[in-house]
C-alpha cells in the first residue's frame, strides 16, 4: 500500500473514521469473546489507524516482502485493536475476527507470527517488542534498506529494563529508520504509572538515550500523521513519539479508568459504547 496522498485534513478525517471502526470492532470482539483489554485497545486505535491506513508501506498479499515497513506490537495484549486493524488492512478475512480467543482460533490473546500473517514477532511478555524492532532496524541499516520500523509500546511497559537496553542501543547505532510510539495513557494494569514507578520526565529520558522526541496528542489524527510521516532529513537518530492518550478513549465510562485495562462491557454498556463511538467517529 502506498503512502497516502491528499490534503492533510482529508487524510486525518479518513484516519479518524477508520480508528472509530477499529474501536467498534475491538469491542464487538471483546464482547463476543467475553474477555479482552479494551482500555489499551481504545487508547491505541488512532495510532494503529494512522500507521496502517496512511503511513506504512506493505502488501498484505505478500506479508514477507523484504522491503515492507514493519510494525511491532510491543504491548502485545492490545490484540482487539491489532487484529481489527490487520483484518481491515487485508491480512486475513474480517470474518476471522469472530473467532477471537475461541478454542483453536488464529487470534490468540497475544499475537503469533507463526500462523497469523502481518505479525512480525510474538509478543505478550512486556519489554520484548522494542529490542526486536531495534534488530530489524539494524538489519535495514546494514543493508541501507528503505523500510521503516515502528514499535508501539505501552507506557507501563517502559518499566521493563529491556526497553532501555534497546533504547540505548538504538541511540548508539543512530537508527533513524526506527520509530518508537509510546501509548502514554498514564495508567498501567493496577494504577497510574506515576504512582507505581514514575516515568517522567519521559521525553528527557529518551533524549538522554540519543533519540529525537516529539510529543503529541495521540488522539489527534493530523498530529499523528505529521509525527509519523517519513523524515525528510535523516537526523541520525531514532524517533520517539510520545503519544499522550486516554485509556478507554471514545467510551465515556472507560476513559481514564484503570479498571478497564481488562474487562467486558455488559449489554447496556456495549450499546452505549457503540452509540458514543458512532457519534464521535462516524459509521
Amino acid at each position: 500500500m502506498p503512502v497516502e496522498a491528499g490534503l492533510p485534513e482529508e487524510r486525518a478525517a479518513k484516519i479518524k473514521q477508520r480508528a472509530g471502526r477499529i474501536r467498534r470492532k475491538a469491542l464487538e470482539m471483546i464482547v463476543a469473546a467475553g474477555q479482552g483489554h479494551p482500555g489499551g485497545d481504545m487508547s491505541s486505535s488512532d495510532i494503529l489507524a494512522a500507521l496502517y491506513f496512511d503511513i506504512m508501506r506493505y502488501d498484505p498479499q505478500n506479508p514477507g516482502d523484504p522491503t515492507r515497513d514493519r510494525f511491532v506490537m510491543s504491548k502485545g495484549h492490545c490484540t482487539g485493536a491489532l487484529y481489527a486493524v490487520l483484518a481491515a488492512a487485508g491480512y486475513f478475512p474480517e470474518a476471522e475476527l469472530a473467532t477471537y480467543l475461541k478454542p483453536g482460533s488464529l487470534l490468540n490473546g497475544h499475537p503469533n507470527r507463526t500462523y497469523l500473517p502481518g505479525v512480525e514477532t510474538n509478543t505478550g511478555p512486556l519489554g520484548h517488542g522494542l529490542p526486536v524492532a531495534v534488530g530489524i532496524a539494524v538489519a535495514g541499516q546494514i543493508d541501507r534498506a528503505k523500510f521503516r520500523v515502528f514499535a508501539l509500546t505501552g507506557d507501563g511497559e517502559l518499566q521493563e529494563g529491556s526497553m532501555w537496553e534497546a533504547a540505548m542501543f538504538a541511540g548508539h547505532r543512530g537508527l533513524d529508520n526506527l520509530v518508537a510510539i509510546i501509548d502514554r495513557n498514564g495508567l498501567q494494569q493496577g494504577a497510574r504509572t506515576e504512582d507505581t514507578n514514575a516515568l517522567e520526565p519521559l521525553a528527557d529520558k529518551w533524549r538522554a538515550f540519543g533519540w529525537d522526541v516529539v510529543e503529541i496528542d495521540g488522539h489527534d489524527h493530523a498530529q499523528l500523521l505529521e509525527a509519523l510521516a517519513p523524515r525528510v532529513e535523516r537526523s541520525g537518530k531514532p524517533l520517539a513519539v510520545i503519544a499522550r492518550t486516554v485509556k478507554g478513549q471514545g467510551v465515556s465510562f472507560m476513559m481514564n479508568q484503570a479498571g478497564w485495562h481488562h474487562g467486558v462491557p455488559n449489554a447496556e454498556q456495549y450499546a452505549l459504547a457503540m452509540e458514543e463511538l458512532e457519534r464521535e467517529y462516524g459509521a
Partner: protein
C-alpha cells in the same frame, strides 16, 4: 579443519573452530551476522570483526536486548549468530529465547560460549550447567552439544543451514580431536564411536572423549561398552537410544546438572519405551570453588568416573536380570 586433526595428544578450544567456521560461512553468505555482548574477545570474534566490521553487532552488556536484536535481525533477512558466555546468554535472556526465538520460530542461532564449568573458580554464577534443561523445555529449539573442534564446525554449519532457532554449546574446556572412521554430522542423528553390547554410554560435549577412554579401559577387562555421541539433544535420535537400551543398561554423561539435561532426555525415552537400569552422570547442583578440571574429576565426570558407573550398573543389571 586446519589445526584440529585427530591422532595426537593435542587439546583444542572449540571456540577456535567456531570462529573460523563463522568467518568461512560469512565469506559465502552475506546474510550471516554476528551479535555479541561485549564479548568480541571471549567469543573469539576478532577475526570476524576484522573481516566484516559492518556485520558485527555488539550490543554491549545487555543480553535481553542482544537476543531480541537477534530475532529482529532474522526478521530483517539476516542469519544472526548470537554469542556470549553461555551462562548469561541463556539465563539472562531466557524469556527472549522462549518468546522471540523459539515461540516466534525466528531464524536465530544462539551460541553459548564456555558452557558447563569452563569458568571453574568463578563459581556457580558463571557456570552454565542448567542451560540444556532450560532450553530443552522449549518447543522448536534445536540443541547441539558438539564434542570437539570438527563437530563444533559441523554444528555451526548445520545451524546456518537450518531455518529456525538453534542453540549450540561452544566449549572452551580443552578437548582432544576425536578419531572418526566415517565423520558425518546430522541434526537429530547420534554417532556410535565404539560398538558394544554389554552396556551403552551416551555422552555429549566434553564427556565424549572420556566415554571413549572409559570404553577402551573396560574392553581390556572384557566389558563391551558402546559409546554413543548424542550431540543433538533436540531433536533426539530416539532410535539410537532404543538400540542402546537393547544392551540392557545405559550410563549418560554430560557437563550439566543431573536434572533435565541429556540424562533426563534419554531417561524420558527409556522410561516410556524401553525401561532399563540407568545412571545419569552430571553435577549435583551449585558447585564448590575449584578449577574446571578439578570440578570435573571431583564429580566423576572423567573416564574413571564413567568406568566406575559402568561397573556398578553392570552389577545392577545382573542383579535385576
Amino acid at each position: 579443519m586446519s589445526a584440529a586433526q585427530p591422532g595426537n595428544d593435542k587439546l583444542f578450544d572449540c571456540r577456535d573452530a567456531w570462529a573460523e567456521t563463522l568467518v568461512a560461512l560469512a565469506a559465502v553468505d552475506d546474510r550471516i551476522v554476528a551479535v555479541c555482548n561485549d564479548s568480541v574477545g571471549s567469543s573469539k570474534l576478532g577475526g570476524f570483526q576484522k573481516a566484516y566490521p559492518e556485520r558485527l553487532v555488539n550490543v554491549g552488556i545487555a543480553e535481553q536486548n542482544m537476543v531480541g536484536v537477534g530475532a529482529g535481525l532474522a526478521n530483517g533477512g539476516k542469519i544472526p549468530f548470537v554469542s556470549g558466555a553461555s551462562c548469561f546468554l541463556t539465563g539472562r535472556a531466557l524469556e527472549q529465547i522462549k518468546a522471540d526465538c523459539a515461540y516466534s520460530a525466528a531464524n536465530v542461532k544462539l551460541c553459548g560460549m564456555a558452557p558447563g564449568v569452563a569458568y571453574g573458580e568463578l563459581g556457580a554464577t558463571h557456570h552454565s550447567i542448567e542451560d540444556i534443561a532450560w532450553l530443552r523445555s522449549f518447543a522448536n529449539m534445536t540443541i547441539l552439544v558438539p564434542s570437539d573442534p570438527w563437530e563444533t564446525a559441523e554444528a555451526i554449519k548445520a545451524a546456518a543451514d537450518l531455518d529456525g532457532p538453534v542453540f549450540v554449546r561452544v566449549s572452551r574446556m580443552p578437548v582432544p580431536a576425536i578419531e572418526r572412521t566415517q565423520p558425518k554430522f546430522g541434526i537429530g542423528r547420534a554417532e556410535t564411536l565404539r560398538e558394544g553390547d554389554d552396556i551403552a554410554i551416551i555422552a555429549n560435549g566434553t564427556l565424549v572423549h572420556h566415554a571413549i577412554a572409559a570404553s577402551d579401559a573396560l574392553a581390556r577387562d572384557g566389558i563391551s561398552a558402546r559409546v554413543v555421541n548424542m550431540s543433538s539433544v533436540n531433536p533426539l535420535d530416539e532410535d539410537a537410544i532404543l538400540a542402546a537400551a537393547e544392551t540392557g543398561a545405559i550410563v549418560t554423561a554430560e557437563e550439566h546438572v543431573v536434572r533435565g539435561g541429556l540424562g533426563g532426555a534419554v531417561a524420558e525415552v527409556v522410561a516410556t519405551r524401553h525401561p532399563v537400569p540407568m545412571r545419569i552422570l552430571g553435577f549435583p547442583g551449585f558447585l564448590p570453588t575449584g578449577s574446571a578440571p578439578w570440578l570435573m574429576n571431583e564429580f566423576g565426570l572423567s573416564a574413571a568416573g564413567i568406568e566406575t558407573a559402568v561397573r556398578d550398573l553392570i552389577k545392577a543389571k545382573l542383579v535385576s536380570a
